[in-house]
Each structure stands twice: as structure tokens, then as C-alpha cells.
Symmetry: C2
Subunit: 209 residues, 2 copies
């Protein structure tokens, strides 16, 4: 995120912070709806209700703004799940997380896919810096899942490698989200997560409920 | 695929077929490397070594070409795996398919992701016709996996629903491919498919080897 860091002043006033946040939120929404390439800085400017010079005050270019959006979406995705992450150290907690992920997609009418994954898929071959930022976001997500599985493992309840299982659960989530977006139906996400969690459950010797 | 059907003449000469195929192959490669939005018709024209009027002879617009690319990539993906599909009615055959998918990504240095999935992710929110074409491609892929699992189920070897398991395996593959593309490492794909196939294997009562 070097270009963002370069651009972002060391200290922003409270008002400056608010303006910057509004620009990032508007860009995130537009990139989510239309894709990174299709969302122009002019669209972002209009949606955020700021002037062009205000955008350039906070972001050197679209790349800097994209990196801020990836950070923003990572935070949003993790914050949304935060209340559920604490309970991922039991099969019951994992199932509750699965239900919440499915319900969230249902409310969105299966639109949009994963806010991080869809950016990642779009930029992976053309923008190494953005690809790495997405990879970093996924690592944090994987880490949150891993924490629950690791706790079960340390308590002697879970056989199998918690690192591998966390990555497998994240992959099932991502594949399920993408197919759910393409099919406009929650079934792919439900089935993908159920299979992954059934696999985890089959490796659990004792599950405290 | 209405616009393509409209545009494509009822009969093409052999030379016309070859020219059309060359255009589609060039477009598929460019869209794979750069994304759908970034690959312009002018880029395709240059890469295929044809004139602008030749492109418009075969395709009314970029949308028609995109639909032909989705069809082309679906065929390519299924053809690549065809020799392995016949053996998906055993755990050994499923593992061989997994190994081939991983090896293929290794040879590509984990670049590109899924040729269908990456288009799907890019167009899902902005192009319903293309989204449905991608959904149709995924259904064929899911069907090929389902055929093997269904055969096991009919022989009484596989417990569990072969429809759900086929979709879960495809989701694990897609999520694994995307994370492998983002991380430039085969481990996500390996781990995702291993978890999905371990789950299938746990439901197999007899596996003829």
C-alpha cells in the first residue's frame, strides 16, 4: 500500500478523515456494483459529493484509492463477522457462522459476491500491488477462522491440521459465494459450507455444546 | 446467447469457420489475461490478425463475442478434463482428477484462475446475459462431476446426495482456484480439494480400486 501511504497526510483533521472515508465508501460501493475498471474517478467524485481536487488531495491516483477500498472492504467483511468469530471454536459456532453467511447473501438477493474476492479476481493478472492487498485481506480472514479451529485443536477436540482446515473452509466459502452470485441462489453457498463443516465435524472428537 | 445466434450465419465456409474460431480464441486469451472490460475489440482484431469488418461479419458487437468466448472457454475446460471425468466414479479417480487440476495450475504458475469463473465474477453484476452463459457452463461442469458421484451412489457405494456433493466439489475447486490465483501458490487448491474429497471419501462405503 505504498502509494496510499505516500499520499495520505500524516495527520488529517476530523473533517478530513470524514471526507476521506466518504470517498473510500463511495468508491467501494461503485467498485462492488460495477467492477474496478468500470468505476471511474469521476463516478466516485459524483457519488461522494466532493470535488476532483478533494479526491486528489487524499489519493494520488485510482490505484491509491483501490488499495484503500481493499482495506476498507477487508475491515467491513471482518467487522460484519466479528461477533461470530469468537464462537468458531465449536461445531455449533461454525454452523451459526455458516447460517449468518447464508442469511446475509439471501438478504442481498445473492448479488455482489464477496467484496474482496470479486476485486481480487478482477485485478489478479493486471495489478500485482492490489493482488497482494487482497491476499493480505484473505490471510486475515483465514486467520480468524483458524483461531477457532486452532483452539479446538489445542483442547484436543479436533483432529487434523487447523491451518489446512481453515484454508479449506475459506475456499469453500469463496467458491460458494461466487457460484451463489452467478446462480442468484443461496444453494451453492449452503452446500459448499455444509460439506466443509461436515468435514470439520467428522474430525471432532468431543464438541462441547 | 441470442445475439450470437442472431449474428452467426446459418452456414459458414470452412475458411469462415476458421476465421471465426481464430477471433474467438484471440478474444478468449485477451479476456483471460486482462479481463473482459480491458480487452477491446481493437486488441482482439490485432491479436487475431483480421480486419475490423471481419470481426463485425461474425459478431454484431463485443457482447456477442463475449458470449462466444464463454462458450469456447466452457468447451476448453471440459475438454481438458474429459479423460478424467470418466473415472470420477471412484475415490481413486477423484484424487487423480484433483492431482491433474493442481498440476495444471502449477504449470500455469498459478496465473489466470478459472477461465469461466473469472469472467463470471467480472460480469455477474453488469451483464445478465453473460452471467447466465457462465451459469450454464458451470452447470455442465457440475454435471460432469455429478455423473461420477451419481454412478457411485447408484451402485450403493456412496452415501449422501450426489447432487449436493458435486456442487460442493465444484465450489471447493472454484474457491481453491481463486485463492491459488491470488496467492500464486497451489496450496489453497490442494487443501480445498483434499477437504472436499476427504468428505466424499468419508461417505463411501465400498470403493472399488
Amino acid at each position: 500500500m505504498s502509494s496510499e501511504t505516500r499520499q495520505q497526510p500524516a495527520r488529517l483533521t476530523r473533517k478530513g478523515q470524514a471526507t476521506r472515508s466518504r470517498i473510500v465508501a463511495a468508491a467501494a460501493q461503485l467498485m462492488y456494483e460495477r467492477g474496478v475498471t468500470e468505476a471511474t474517478l469521476e463516478d466516485v467524485r459524483a457519488a461522494a459529493g466532493v470535488s476532483g481536487s478533494q479526491i486528489y488531495h487524499y489519493f494520488a491516483d485510482k490505484q491509491a484509492l483501490l488499495l484503500a477500498v481493499i482495506e476498507h472492504q477487508t475491515e467491513a467483511v471482518l467487522e460484519l463477522q466479528a461477533p461470530l468469530f469468537d464462537r468458531l471454536d465449536s461445531v455449533r459456532g461454525l454452523r451459526a457462522w455458516r447460517d449468518a453467511m447464508v442469511e446475509f447473501q439471501r438478504r442481498l438477493q445473492c448479488r455482489g459476491g464477496c467484496p474482496i474476492g470479486s476485486i481480487g479476481s478482477e485485478v489478479a493478472e493486471t495489478n500485482p500491488e492490489a493482488r497482494l492487498a487482497v491476499a493480505s485481506g484473505f490471510l486475515r480472514w483465514e486467520g480468524a477462522i483458524r483461531a477457532g479451529l486452532g483452539a479446538m485443536h489445542e483442547r484436543g477436540e479436533l483432529e487434523g491440521d487447523p491451518d489446512d482446515l481453515a484454508l479449506a473452509v475459506l475456499a469453500a466459502l469463496q467458491g460458494g459465494l461466487m457460484l451463489t452470485q452467478i446462480q442468484r441462489a443461496v444453494r451453492p453457498l449452503e452446500v459448499a459450507l455444509d460439506a466443509a463443516l461436515d468435514h470439520v465435524a467428522s474430525l471432532v472428537r468431543v464438541d462441547p455444546v
